[in-house]
Symmetry: C2
Subunit: 336 residues, 2 copies
């Protein structure tokens, strides 16, 4: 049979409860005792039984990653960041794909938390921007940490200066001589779409360029919406020399249309995206984009969540740096 807490207690010459205290890092144990227990646990290769802990402790030591994100690479990166951090902190992880348009969404999350006694949630966009959901979680006192929330409610998690990143991208294009720079917005459910648009506008302003609403097209973060937007932009009387899509998938849609029309990238039109998903290296020419350290963001978000689970007063909103990743899809404006 497997090693139980009692075996460790016996080996260390203490009671079960003391072993339990050591395991859970409770402070009220003498150092000498603590070390003796730790040595015994190690010698016996003791691993606490998760189910027993959960049952007795009335909590799950379980964190759930909730997502509704079309980008597989984004979710996978986040997933791995969360898994690693959970492992290091002896938490388990559940994954829950969700449909953010589902009217039963909140109820579903509530019952997930209730049944599995989830200790805390990690949210990814666009769930991070659903006010009703966040309000309900606050109301129920369910700790939750957001990856890239795009609202102003504080809370805990990790953010990126999306606004500045978009602004930098515009500056990059301006430096290349572009003056007619189009923007394809992201999906309206994502707060990021607004921030990126705002960054685009301040980038123009900073360069002394006029904001032309005709150059801003609605998109949905999808390849197909990128295609549609590109077609709309090419139909303009005076077409742009650069197209800044709010994510990489839309940028690849744009590139497809340009290729079909025999336009050269970046010779005729520069294209750039946002996210630095793996696809940005795989298209031709390789896509200029904004790198997000998604895995580290997930790591940090998990760390903050675990802090908040232990002490609801702690846990903060951490900011991580982005990086403009210039590749071959952006170049000098034609005639520069």
């Amino acid at each position: 049979m497997r090693v139980r807490i009692e075996d460790v207690a016996k080996a260390a010459g203490v009671s079960m409860k003391t072993v339990s205290r050591v395991l859970n890092n409770e402070p009220t144990v003498r150092d000498a005792t603590r070390e003796r227990v730790q040595a015994a646990a190690k010698a016996l290769n003791y691993r606490p039984d998760p189910s027993a802990r959960r049952l007795a402790g009335r909590r799950s030591y379980l964190v759930a990653l909730l997502y509704d994100n079309p980008s597989a690479s984004y979710v996978m990166e986040a997933l791995e960041g969360v898994v690693e951090t959970c492992q290091a902190h002896h938490y388990g992880m559940m994954v829950q794909p969700l449909d953010y348009t589902d009217p039963e969404l909140i109820a579903g999350i509530e019952s997930l938390v209730a049944i599995s006694k989830i200790d805390g949630l990690i949210l990814t966009p666009p769930l991070t921007d659903m006010t009703a959901l966040l309000d309900r979680l606050d109301e129920l006192n369910i700790p939750h940490s957001c990856i890239s929330p795009n609202n102003r409610r504080g809370g805990i998690g990790v953010t990126l200066q999306e606004h500045d990143a978009a602004q930098d991208m515009v500056s990059h294009l301006v430096e290349l001589g572009h003056t007619r720079i189009a923007h394809i917005k992201g999906h309206s459910a994502h707060g990021a779409s607004d921030w990126r648009l705002a960054g685009y506008r301040s980038g123009l302003r900073r360069a002394g360029l006029r904001y032309d609403p005709a150059l801003v097209i609605d998109g949905e973060f999808s390849f197909d919406s990128g295609r549609a937007a590109a077609e709309a932009l090419l139909a303009l009387p005076e077409r742009p020399t650069a197209i800044f899509a709010a994510n990489d998938d839309m940028a690849t849609g744009v590139m497809g249309v340009l290729h079909e029309r025999g336009l050269s990238i970046p010779g005729d039109i520069s294209v750039c995206g946002f996210d630095d998903t793996p696809i940005s290296r795989q298209v031709f020419p390789a896509l200029t984009t904004i790198h997000q350290p998604v895995r580290e963001m997930a790591h940090e978000a998990t760390l903050q969540l675990i802090k908040a689970i232990k002490d609801p007063a702690s846990g903060t909103l951490v900011q991580l740096p982005y990086a403009l990743q210039a590749r071959q899809s952006t170049g000098p404006a034609p005639g520069t």
Copy 2:
């Protein structure tokens, strides 16, 4: 407090144990009793406590998805297939990213299973092809189900006729008039690489074409290895008119090199891949490839695993159909 099994028992006028029987679908309950219990459970909105079940039952009702796969979209599709199926069958799911080159791999998996009392494992390539791992799992009687195993050991899970798929792809190219068809092999740790190569060879044979070893290049399933292979093929005295890469990532590498050289796809050279990952639609021109129903495969693999957990004698190897997805990257051979 939450509803417990005792409350349901009281409401239905039976013992706890009978409720437990109904919940676990044990056959030895009269229909009338069963219905009464089910009604009571529903009325009280009773949800069994997973930790208590696990502790008392000495098992976890937990399945783990193990992977070491560079393709995010593949893993995500598989993940969702597994999650949905687990939910439907009241199993929990863990996800465990692994490094298949880690010498501690098997030990790590063993301790995962021991600690979390995992009931069964779902493996994806290349783990499905690691004989030492599979042997050890058999030895320890740990139920495991493979998605796309490429070995001949039987076992349970889901397969695809990879050989036939590759052969069909060659036939597709032959019909387009190609006679110099190159193949870029996949990573040697993946059994799929061998099957796809074998399919390529029988495709040639079926068309009466000679197998030319110079036209077969080693790859590693990565974008960069696709690039390197393409460069090698273009350096050949007589270059191929079609390049069949063993996966989509390598195919995109090939396309990048061809674009750089100013070669037209498919005008000068046709390119095709395997897997039908989302990227195949997003590159230009859209990639001809083989579609795998990964999500359904994961669903079926999970189903078989759950069967095998309940009854080790059951569970089979199910075969699912592939589909050749012809897009714009393949066309008539030059001069046809």
